[in-house]
Symmetry: none
Subunit: 200 residues, 4 copies
DNA sequence: AATGAATGAGGGTTCATTCAT
DNA sequence: AATGAATGAACCCTCATTCAT
């Protein structure tokens, strides 16, 4: 039975992923999830004790990876320091590698955790992520001659935008390579924009 | 009681604005809106004949202004042509004026219409806006040497990002001047980013 | 003001007639009636103290006439006695006159009182009418050789049918002459049917 | 609880039958039906997914039988041809057999489908039935010397009356044999009436 | 492990009626 | 005489959750 149990549990998570992705946490229906898994609503509660718990199980690994990444971000620091180089092709190369490494993080469930979690304990995660990236930006613009991009509000805005761009790529571009291209251009766009902004 | 009608109707609209803003159309509760206005749910239906009608009343002016702006966008065309100038201060001046003109459009209710309208007739408005801006981008990048930003997917992404940036400014920056500054920087950022992208 | 009052009151009755006719008492909406009269729901209550009272005002004359007719039915007795005659044209002539005399009774409001009054004090009127006609039938078949049509259940059925036929004519045939023709044929049909039934 | 399901479901259908029978579809209350079955309104939705679905379950068999009967009516054609016989007892015999065969059709739920279904998909069924019988009448009166009963309006009226008579028998005569007697007399009455009408 | 019956609260909506103005 | 704001109960329906089997 253990085998069957795991299969069903996994099926529930898969269908829950789709349901949360389509409707968000609050509007997702446990009945729908159970039905899609060919299962009874009552039985769903044998696997997950509540709607919130199901959501938690769905994204907890993503959350851990995400937290880990935030704690160890300095390992990737070099990438952003590559801005010093004048050659855009070098930048692109670094960026593509960097983003390729992040593939395991930028998953559908990661998107769900950040963007479809209103009503759960995770609803502030996106804000935390924004703050993290924003702090990053501010830190790196200390060297810059002017303080324009050090405006916290603008840094937060740009950070949120970047994150929303990532979300968009995950949500709308299913093909992995195409998505990586898009993300690379997106990051390039942001880095060059910031670069330019600090010139004046 | 005639005199109270306008007051209460306005109160309902204000509370509805808050409720829709917080929860979105589908999750907003008419009972909540009525309660916040010190009123019974039944009475709310004296003022608005349905949830959708209430939403419509809330955003219809915003929608009209928005449509008008899209139809008459060429009047502001000169702004973007100012990109030819090499002086960033000229750009900023133009942008600030341009965005100042748009102030009556970038309201909280506009945000609600674009971002909290799932389930209403307005739910596609944001998509239309994105397409509009995206077409604009593509048109203006015909002159550019390379076709990088003419990738429709990237143009759409950038357009969506820009619009989301506007939404963010409306949502998070209450002070008008501060918001105008932020939006100016945001647009500047996008124009320079696009400018740079077309170089390579 | 008295003049205006009567006009409005009459207008309310006219619109109520239409509403009750279309939806029946329970499903009729006072709001609709007021709206159709270009009037406020509140003001309707100045003219009629309740939904039931409005219905009562609408059909009370019909009810009085109806009661009067039932009490004085013997005045029309001769008509039915004409059955003795073997000539169908004589029957038809009598019937047409008889039914023409009843025109003031067979009105739309009479129909409403009998068929659209569920939920009011009048909801049993149709049953009383059926019993009245049924008693009539039974009385006249005492002379007949057999007791077939004296079966109370059958008499009641035939009576109800006849009344429903009248209702149908009122409801579905707007032209007065056409309606009179139809009713004449209908009564003829019933008289001949009864005549035949008593033969065996 | 599996064992209770069928019992409760049946109970709901029985109570629904009573409620629809008493108040018609639109005025029937699901709360009442649930309460009468000793159940919560929410639970009723475990058994039937909507008010309309409940109504559908109640009458779907009746509707199928009814459609089948209309398609295969020619099998019973001989009955009406028996009119050629001069002996009323022969008619009665045929009629009684004919109507006895129809017993499974003339049920309380059949009555609900025809007469209490306003607001459902079945609300036109009675009209279709009337047209069916009416066409039947018209077809059989082609042979007759005169065109009196071929008046479509009169044929429709008579057809509606006959059907209403059946409805009355179902509604008011619980005993099966008594009902069969009544229906036989009713049909006899109509056949003789039509017969007589075509004489003149 | 699995079923699905059952609950209770909440959703949007309509209604007859009351009453201050 | 007239307005229309306000109430409260009822409508159909959906949901997360509980629990006896």
């Amino acid at each position: 039975m253990q085998y069957k149990k795991d299969v069903l549990r996994e099926s529930l998570l898969v269908e829950a992923e789709q349901e949360f992705f389509e409707k968000g946490y609050l509007n997702a229906s446990l009945r729908q999830i159970a039905k899609r898994s060919g299962m009874t609503i009552g039985n769903l509660y044998h696997y997950f004790e509540s709607k919130e718990a199901l959501f938690h199980e769905l994204v907890k690994n993503e959350h851990e990876n995400f937290i880990y990444m935030m704690k160890h971000h300095y390992e990737h620091e070099f990438v952003l320091d590559a801005r010093g180089s004048g050659d855009i092709r070098v930048w692109k190369g670094f960026l593509r590698n960097f983003l390729s490494d992040l593939k395991p993080i930028f998953t559908k469930r990661f998107l769900i955790m950040l963007d479809m979690s209103t009503g759960t304990n995770y609803e502030n995660t996106k804000g935390e992520f924004v703050q993290f990236v924003s702090a990053h930006f501010l830190e790196h613009s200390k060297d810059a001659a002017t303080a324009r991009v050090t405006s916290p509000k603008f840094a937060e805005l740009i950070s949120r935008q970047l994150i929303d761009g990532i979300m968009y790529a995950i949500r709308s571009v299913p093909d992995e390579n195409e998505r990586l291209d898009l993300l690379t251009d997106l990051f390039l766009f942001y880095m060059m924009g910031i670069n330019e902004m600090t010139k004046y």
